[in-house]
């Protein structure tokens, strides 16, 4: 099977940003330099830069 990098759905995006923001708020080291102090903004910025080491495992029937 060919490996296709699909765009994240908005739900997946929310899940990743949510998880990452929680990690940052719980004291995880950040992966980028940023001026913001809000973990959610920080997570969003990290996602935009594509540095978050989290992948989504899609289960169930594909669309």
């Amino acid at each position: 099977m060919k490996e296709v990098v699909k765009k994240l759905t908005r739900y997946e995006r929310a899940r990743i940003v949510g998880a990452r923001a929680l990690q940052i708020s719980m004291g995880a080291p950040t992966l980028i330099e940023s001026n913001t102090t809000d973990p959610i903004d920080m997570a969003l910025e990290e996602l935009k830069k594509g540095v978050i080491p989290i992948t989504i495992k899609r289960r169930g029937t594909p669309r």
């Binding site: 998880a19 990690q23 940052i24 719980m26 004291g27 995880a28």
Partner: protein, 196 residues
């Protein structure tokens, strides 16, 4: 019996430790979680020696931590019924002697020490046999058989191991050496007599 076991367990890696080297942190966490714990099947877990595989981490909803299914090697000690062990006496009490068997202590009850009437010598912290005069004191090396095992997973200190020495080839190591010497001497005498 001591065993080396290959085990799999789930470990929670808290986010504040994400910056560190994953395998080292997981080994650390596994040690904290398991070492000193008692399991009904494995016995007492003594040490986590090395981490073999950490698999893929999972992030559960509502918790920023990552959960890893870690495969690792560990050293365990499980007291098995009928197993013969040697150990040092760690404490003498009125009703018997506590024998250190490694990570756990076993109880050798007065009634299980020898085929003799055993009395407790409180002043010298010894248990003395009435007829033989043989005594057991703290620090003595004993060879005993496990006759009862009751492991408590929740309270490792509440685990109980029952021992006996009222069988052939069991007892204080000095008694065993004595018996061996005696048997050897008798055999030599026998040989001397037959050769005449």
């Amino acid at each position: 019996m001591y065993k080396k076991a290959k085990l799999i367990d789930t470990v929670r890696l808290p986010p504040e430790r994400l910056g560190e080297e994953t395998i080292a942190v997981l080994k650390d966490l596994l040690r904290d979680k398991l070492e000193g714990r008692i399991d009904k099947m494995l016995g007492s877990i003594i040490a986590v020696t090395d981490v073999l595989d950490i698999g893929e981490g999972r992030i559960l909803a509502g918790d920023g931590a990552i959960y890893y299914d870690v495969t690792f090697n560990a050293i365990t000690f499980k007291p098995e019924l009928q197993e013969i062990l040697e150990g040092k006496v760690v404490e003498i009490v009125e009703f018997g002697a506590f024998v250190g068997l490694g990570p756990l202590d076993g109880l050798l009850h007065v009634s299980q020490i020898a085929d003799d009437y055993i009395s407790y010598d409180e002043k010298n912290a010894r248990l003395v046999g009435k007829e033989t005069g043989r005594a057991i004191a703290e620090g003595d090396m004993l060879r005993a058989r496990i006759v009862a095992v009751s492991l408590n997973e929740r309270e490792p200190r509440e685990s109980k191991i029952g021992l006996t020495m009222r069988q052939a080839a069991l007892g204080k190591v000095e008694w065993l050496a004595e018996a061996r010497d005696k048997a050897k001497k008798e055999e030599e005498e026998q040989n001397a007599r037959t050769s005449v």
